[in-house]
């Protein structure tokens, strides 16, 4: 029997990048096939080609042994291919039914929508695969996990046999991840075949039937969970032996730098996002804040950096009350911030690299004399930072938007670290970066800690938290449900805490 899906020699070039280089991939009927690779390896590009969002420069696609031409998503939908994108493709103001039926509507005569029939079909699907969802609910009111179910129903509604899931676990709690894999198993039992894209080794080893590893746009290996282990996979993924363990000296915590008491912060929708949170960070230590995306970390950071005012509680930085201070006042006290969304908050993409280096110091000597900008001084400093932080750029005067993601992050780190700072908030500092850049950023964070800086690290990557933190705080539904000593805890314990399971020992 021929495989249900076969990709042969897929090649895709973007200006300056070879994103996919003659990739071959086969998917057998009824298997879960993991596509493993680090950020920027070309996994998503490959799947977007299969789904018809990009057109390949070379290569052929076969479904059930027959060659197909995929020029748009409708072609791939017709061929029975469906994809759940990393960022959900749902219209928030539509109901579940409307979202699911969109593009393949059940209509009465004259193009009138038959919502009832579509809802019936959705109910049937959700019963068959145990995908609980209310067809009449508005998507904007649904939790992320349920939204993902809606995405899967969308594929089943179109009778897709080949399901592509792009980084499906990134936004889920560990419990929801387990649920998802149960669903995936049940789908496979019903004869579906799944390609599952990820960069998380543990998930691959636990849930995949077969594994294909991609690096730099090429297939570098194929294996099975039985044959491989974490270190092997990591080496394949990165292209060299990776020491998954980071060498660091024990922390030498000193005075309290940041003190947070009973903090309550609202989100944009005026809902309580941070609920009565208290903690402290000392000089010379890294406090890691773990938690699944959307449990209040973003709002916590916004409050600590002055981007939002808390509704109650108290924040003290170096003895000063900064509860309602502005971002500039907080920065001037010696605080630095690596923001979660670097392109949105951290950089002005259309401005030069040099201007981005002085984004929060331009108004002070030596970059300003009175109200006059000192352009030579700005440029001089820019050259120094580029040198010191190894920013790969042809010049300090090109737009920062033309640099790679890793170099953009280095611009931010360079800017924040070249001021004398006593407190650092690093929010998702390595999201979307390649392993080389991740290691670089990690070393710099440890270095800052050893210099006596207090570091608050917020990350949804549990591995990163475990690796870097001296103490770990876990946020769940806006509460800080536990703060544990990193040396005394395990990944499993933190994982349970992230799911809201509080150990009853000692209490």
């Amino acid at each position: 029997m021929s495989p249900i899906l076969e990709l042969r020699g897929i090649t895709k070039r973007f200006p300056g990048v070879l994103a996919n280089d003659h990739i071959d991939l086969t998917l057998e009927q009824g298997e879960i096939h993991a596509l493993l690779g680090e950020n920027g390896a070309g996994k998503t590009t490959l799947m977007n080609i299969l789904y018809g969002l990009y057109s390949p420069d070379e290569g052929e696609i076969f479904v059930r042994g027959e060659k197909i031409e995929v020029r748009s998503p409708s072609d791939s939908i017709k061929a029975g291919v469906g994809m759940v994108h990393q960022h959900f493709m749902l219209v928030p103001v539509f109901t579940v039914t409307e979202n699911v039926m969109l593009g393949d509507e059940i209509t009465r005569m004259g193009g009138f929508l038959n919502r009832r029939a579509a809802a019936e079909r959705i109910r049937a699907i959700s019963d068959q695969y145990h995908l609980e969802v209310n067809p009449d609910a508005y998507v904007r009111d649904l939790p992320v996990g349920v939204q993902q179910r809606v995405e899967i129903i969308k594929l089943l509604y179109r009778e897709a046999d080949i399901l592509i899931l792009d980084e499906p676990t990134a936004v889920l709690t560990p419990q929801e991840v387990d649920e998802l894999f149960t669903i995936m198993r049940s789908l496979v039992e019903h004869g579906k075949s799944i390609i599952f894209i990820t960069h998380k080794l543990r998930e691959v080893l636990e849930f995949a039937d077969r594994i294909t590893v991609i690096r730099g746009g090429k297939v570098v290996g194929a294996t099975t969970p039985q044959e491989a282990d974490q270190n092997q996979l990591a080496a394949m993924m990165v292209g060299r032996a990776v020491d998954l363990h980071l060498e660091k000296a024990p922390a030498q915590p000193q005075d309290v730098v940041l003190q947070v008491e009973d903090l309550v912060v609202l989100d944009d929708a005026e809902q309580v996002a941070v609920n009565q949170v208290s903690f402290e960070v000392r000089a010379g230590e890294i406090l890691g804040v773990a938690g699944v995306q959307g449990n209040g970390q973003t709002e916590l950071v916004r409050a600590l950096t002055g981007l939002t005012n808390p509704v109650s509680g108290r924040v003290t930085l170096l003895g000063q009350d900064i509860t309602t201070a502005s971002p500039r006042e907080i920065t001037e006290l010696g605080s630095a911030h690596i923001p979660e969304d670097r392109q949105r908050d951290g950089l002005v993409l259309t401005a030069t690299v040099a201007d981005n280096f002085v984004l929060n110091t331009y108004y002070r000597p030596p970059f300003a004399r009175g109200v006059w900008l000192q352009e030579e001084k700005v440029l001089e400093t820019a050259e120094e930072i580029i040198e010191k932080f190894d920013v790969r750029t042809p010049s300090a005067l090109i737009p920062v938007g033309s640099l790679s993601g890793g170099n953009q992050q280095k611009v931010i780190v360079g800017r924040e670290f070249s001021r004398p700072i006593k407190f650092l908030v690093a929010s998702q500092p390595t999201r979307g970066l390649d392993v080389g850049s991740i290691e670089y950023i990690h070393h710099r964070l440890i270095e800052k800690r050893d210099d006596g800086c207090a570091v608050l690290l917020v990350s949804t990557e549990l591995d990163e938290i475990m690796e870097l933190s001296d103490r770990i705080a876990v946020m769940y539904r806006g509460k800080m449900i536990a703060i544990v000593d990193a040396a005394q805890t395990t990944k499993e314990e933190v994982g349970l805490l992230m799911a809201g399971v509080v150990a009853q020992s000692g209490g």
């Binding site: 977007n48 789904y51 969002l53 990009y54 748009s72 998503p73 409708s74 939908i77 994809m83 994108h85 493709m89 749902l90 219209v91 928030p92 103001v93 539509f94 409307e98 979202n99 039926m101 969109l102 593009g103 393949d104 509507e105 209509t107 004259g110 193009g111 009138f112 929508l113 009111d141 649904l142 939790p143 992320v144 969308k154 936004v171 609202l266 989100d267 944009d268 929708a269 005026e270 809902q271 309580v272 996002a273 609920n275 995306q293 959307g294 449990n295 973003t298 709002e299 979660e340 969304d341 539904r477 806006g478």
Partner: protein
């Protein structure tokens, strides 16, 4: 990236809006008293005539003593305000706001009329007539913006439609003139579509291009031809059609069912567009493209084509609205004759929450003030008509400031779609 898990929040309701609205309701009551009730002689009477001019039917006048009516309105407003402050109307706040606003307007009219008489039916009829171009303009905006393309060129499209309608209508006949007007709006819309969809220009700049072009070309051609050869600018007008039976309904009949074709077309468009947008496949797809074009794309919907179609349909609509000026109202083309009504149409669309029926409501409200400004001179009330005519603009600014609650603007409105 603030992906929020919906059920993990405590609810926290901001009481600000509730309080502000309560104070507004109370304030309207107080203002009614301060400005009007104090100023009315205790025995003054207000007379409303209920038959529009030129109508066959005769209804008795509505006469009531002014002061008690005003007092009733004041007490009611204050009562609603007090309830709002103490309990709050919750979701129905906007409805109550509309009611209290209506009280205010009615109170003002009754005060201004006290001792005299006002043709209420005539006022409503005139409001509806004035609302026609505004609403059609707004519907043009709804069509474009529901698919995610901002159209500030409604004004230019209407102006062009008015010119083409007059010119072609003069050379041929009314219906061909109308057809040409509709087509001309579509042509300009196609330009807007190409600039904003294909070339991904800023949509506001693209709209400005069309507005400048339309003003220039219509004035240019009008100066060059229409003024020189008067017979090229004499298309005539669509006749008034009295709808049998419906037009004989007392009060309502002459207001709603004794107009020319444009008013009936408006009724049709309102229904067709509402049904089309919310109950058909076309509407679902169009709205999805305006809300989340990428999601639509992944489901095999052609974002570009959908947008082209919507924008060009919107252009047809604006061209039709433009024809109203020359073929439905004035009977000739004058330079810059739309005089900003396209922009009020845009305002009506925003005020009406990007929704056909809402747009009509806003159009009626704006039309009412337009009609009123013409009557105020008769009533000898010391409010200059220019000030009255500012109302639509002020109302829109207030609406936009979020006083009436956040609008349901299409999420991808104004953003070019980039297929990666």
């Amino acid at each position: 990236m603030a992906e929020t898990v919906a059920n993990n929040h405590l609810t926290y309701v901001s009481p600000t809006r509730q309080r502000v609205m309560g104070v507004v309701f109370l304030g309207i009551g107080v203002v009614l008293w301060f400005l009007f009730a104090r100023d009315v002689a205790p025995d003054a009477l207000t007379t409303y005539r209920l038959t529009p001019g030129g109508s066959a039917q005769e209804l008795p006048n509505w006469v009531f003593p002014t002061l008690p009516m005003l007092n009733f309105l004041i007490i009611f407003s204050i009562g609603l305000g007090a309830y709002q402050l103490v309990r709050g109307f919750g979701k129905r706040t906007n409805l109550v706001l509309g009611l209290v606003t209506a009280f205010f307007i009615f109170g003002f009219l009754s005060w201004a009329t006290s001792g005299g008489s006002l043709n209420l039916a005539g006022l409503f009829r005139s409001a509806l007539v004035k609302a026609v171009p505004l609403t059609i303009g707004a519907l043009s905006g709804v069509l474009c913006e529901r698919s995610g393309v901002v159209n500030i060129a409604i004004e230019g499209m209407m102006l062009t439609g008015a010119f083409v309608g007059a010119f072609v209508g003069s050379v041929t006949n009314l219906w061909i003139g109308l057809f040409a007007a509709v087509l001309s709006g579509g042509v300009l819309a196609a330009v807007l579509a190409v600039l904003s969809i294909k070339y991904k220009s800023d949509q506001i700049i693209a709209g400005t291009v069309i507005n400048i072009f339309a003003t220039g070309i219509t004035s240019f051609l009008s100066a060059k031809f229409l003024q020189k050869y008067q017979y090229l600018n004499d298309p005539g007008r669509f006749p008034t059609i009295k709808i049998p039976v419906l037009a004989d309904i007392p009060f309502v009949g002459p207001i709603l069912f004794q107009h020319n074709m444009f008013v009936y077309a408006l009724y049709f468009f309102l229904i067709a567009l509402t049904v089309g947008l919310y109950y058909t496949r076309w509407g679902l797809r169009t709205r999805s493209v305006g809300e989340h074009p990428k999601a639509a794309d992944t489901l095999g919907i052609n974002v570009y084509r959908t947008r082209y179609i919507s924008v060009i349909l919107g252009g047809f609509m604006a061209g039709f609205g433009g024809a109203y000026f020359t073929l439905g109202s004035v009977g000739r083309f004058d330079e810059v004759m739309t005089a900003g009504r396209g922009f009020i149409g845009l305002a009506a669309m925003i005020f009406g929450n990007w929704n056909p029926i809402g747009s009509f409501g806003a159009g009626l409200l704006f039309g009412f003030f337009d009609a009123l400004s013409a009557k105020v001179a008769i009533l000898k009330v010391p409010i200059p008509s220019e000030i009255m005519l500012m109302f639509p603009y002020l109302a829109t600014m207030i609406a936009l400031a979020g006083v009436v609650g956040r609008g349901q603007m299409p999420a991808a409105d104004g953003q070019p779609y980039e297929k990666e």
